[in-house]
């Protein structure tokens, strides 16, 4: 991992079109500004990882187990109730 020391107000350029700026720092947190093209998705990493985990779990559910749950759902919950 590349490690750089930056002060508040300074920034880092990644490639030719991504700039990460340190806007504010305190003992507890850093406020970071990110300038990147729209095509570059920016996420909080722990949230991205949570979504990855959920998606993998959702595809793992796509088995007979999910089919069974759906069968049960059809019997117990009429589909027209879903719209309140």
């Amino acid at each position: 991992m590349l490690i750089l020391t930056r002060k508040s107000g300074e920034s880092i350029r990644i490639g030719n079109n991504i700039v990460i700026s340190i806007l504010e720092s305190s003992s507890r947190y850093l406020k970071i500004g990110i300038d990147a093209p729209k095509s570059v998705a920016v996420y909080r990493n722990e949230i991205y990882e949570k979504i990855q985990e959920q998606n993998r779990a959702a595809t793992a559910s796509t088995t007979a187990q999910l089919g069974n749950a759906l069968q049960g759902f059809k019997k117990s919950k009429p589909q027209d109730k879903i719209e309140e």
Partner: protein, 154 residues
Amino acid sequence: MNTEAQVAPNESVTSSNSFGGIPMTTFKNIELINGLPGFEDLHAFVLGDLEGYEPFCALQSLDEPDISMLVIEAKLLPIWKNIEIPPRELQILEVDKSEDSEQFIILRINHNTQEFTGNIKAPIVFNPKSGAGNQVILDNANLSVEHPMNNQIS
């Protein structure tokens, strides 16, 4: 790529992995621009109704026949009222307004309760005209990745 998985819109197919063999009527091809978190290399998907289980739908990968997810249109859920997709995300999909996009929620089974939960934190959003889509992560701490869906449905 599995050519068998490529289906024309409105063609009824029974996918080997789709929910215990429930037939699926496809209605939309979707190109997920950034792939799906956890499946970043997969871009081509098809959305289809699960016959007899509407409004449940399946989001099926065309690249990996084993990858499919149960989804439901977000606007059918009471909690979705007042949820707006951020303008930046809409611009990427070349959609002007949030209501011009289509939004789907990925469902899964909670292994402890055996009940459905929905990832309302990260809807699949797409441009219905172009089919371009993304899984958008909403910056709203009140939205859960495992929202209980049975409360929403009953």
